[in-house]
Amino acid sequence: MRTFRIGGIHPAENKFAAGKKIKTAAIPKQVVIPLAHYIGTPADPIVKRGDVVMVGQMIGQASGFISANVHSSVSGKVVKMDVQLDASGYKRPAVFIEVEGDEWLETIDRTPDIKRECTLSKQEIVDKIKAAGIVGLGGATFPAHVKLMPPPGKKAEVLIINAVECESYLTCDHQLMLEHAEEILVGVTILMKALEVNRAIIGIENNKKDAIQLFKKLAVNYKGIEVETLKVQYPQGGEKQLIDALLRRQVPSGTIPVEVGAVVQNVATTYAVYEAVQKNKPMIERVMTITGKDAPSPGNYRVRLGTYLSSVVEEAGGIPEGTGKIVGGGPMMGRSLMNLNIPMAKGSSGVVFIREAESIRKPVKNCIRCTKCVTVCPMGLEPYLLMAQSERNMWPEMETNRTMDCIECGSCSYTCPSNRPLLDYIRFGKSTVGGIIRSRTSK
């Protein structure tokens, strides 16, 4: 079985919601749809207060190259355009919609039939994906259409579908694969057509045996789609790690995967692409996992964008007693949430309740030079060194030690026997060095 060659860790899987059927969460009374995501410029609102919108209607227009359209996930009336706290506590522009009924745009095909034929041209597919506002649903929320338009002179050879879901606790992609395998495979053919490639590889980790079996059985009917079983290892879901695992190619520092002829798309993104291209359904809902060791009913929920996390959590049985921290996203890459009164965004893959005893950070001790962090770093960096340089504000040195290659997977902090906050310092250094590089190139 294949896996990536450098570093990696094995956190406890804790996939309590595995095998739980996707439940459709109730439509809330009010939704707050953020116009900004983690990456990219916020969309420009194209509705105003008092407007009546339908499900699937565009309410925000992409305002730059790395930006995505935003659509209404409910039908109702726009009550205000205001700012809303996002997961990090900063205020972001958002559209507040009061729900009235559930009226969908007529163009959206809501039947469960699987539509296999796609007669659109390459450009039409990309335009449709762009119009539907699809972003990478793995967590980074990078607009999907940008990846389908390689820079001039570069040509993709192979499409990689990221069905790894290496984060512990999360099961939303796994369940989506079990319930919508055919749709995902059609989505893969659409993406292949958009990229003009003949080969696609779906990488699935070995802890999802049922999904691997299902996909191996179904993929026979589709030309050029391979299913590859991967050894369980974190952070295999990282783009560069997955390419290394499947193709044995390393993406050079500071470049994008198309440099080695690969384009990676997440499996949930692929499903969203299928829905957008074949069913005309824009990005208005996603599957998320609500889980935790003490969670009353861990499960996977299909939630409309803009629903307050508190109402989804309420539906899943509320916050369990003794919860010390609530993490938005997976426990490794996710961020702890300040409160649950934040709307669900395109990148919200889950809510994880962490027990109080497990959530407390242990006291920081001195570095004992054991080099465990160097061993586990999947990018081959030296985390202890980067942390020391970040503490001393040695930005040029951090740049030469390739801090910008850090994928913020947190393996170093996870493995450190002295509980040193390596990632916190490296992330700070990375943002500072990134700013320095940007100001230098803009001159």
Partner: protein, 286 residues
Amino acid sequence: MITMSIVLISLITLGVIGAVASIILFVVAKKFHVFEDPRIDEVEAALPAANCGGCGFPGCRGFADACVKSDELGDLFCPVGGNDTMSKVALILGKTAVAQAPKVAVVRCDGTCEHRPRYNEYDGVKHCFIAHNLYSGETNCSWGCLGFGDCELSCEFDAIKVNPVTMIPEVDDDKCTACGACVKACPKLLIELRKKGPKSRRIYVGCRNEDKGHITKKACDVGCIGCAKCFKVCPHEAITVENNLAFINDEHCKLCRKCVEVCPTNAIKEINFPPRKVKTEAVLND
């Protein structure tokens, strides 16, 4: 005999090497001698030797070098030494120093635990810059002080300290040299260098919150809500209100304290003023 010759040989060899090396060093030192203006040393001796970088030059020698090279002292100013030092420097160089009003750092946040309740607990690295990089802070105000004391760490003069009770930094007027290190250290841009004012009296808006009034009010009791009452009452046109936040320009402010009286949230701070005269009933009745 043999031992003697070894001693002799080594002595002669080393002596010759030493002589040749000294000649080379002498020639090189003469040929590549860099002339340095002796006044640079004199000026450096007059400077406070804090090497804080507050002047904008790399250390006191860098500043001394700049002073000697420039035609006028105009913009060059040592914030630590102040006007005394600058007049000394001017005397050495035979130039005229431009007197500048002494400045002091002020912290534009008064979000103590009492005024600004905490809604979550941060247990990460206790540094403002790392907390700021992660999220907005423990309170609902995303503009205010985080209280982990990066300003305290940056201060070379022991002048700014986080009060352990209020978790807000406090500036010691006498020790503060206005070098600006804390201004750079604060990720929330809360610290500002302002005119020290006569008898260290000064008035400033102790808030940086640019949110709309109702959001600010919910997050903090003493935040500026942008009501512009101070702007209307100010007779000297020193106050501007932009982005729901008032700002007092210390160039125009005459310290009349009218704005302090009208501020509904007590966001405008007055420092080192004597207590106000309590209006007696007789005065009120008039």
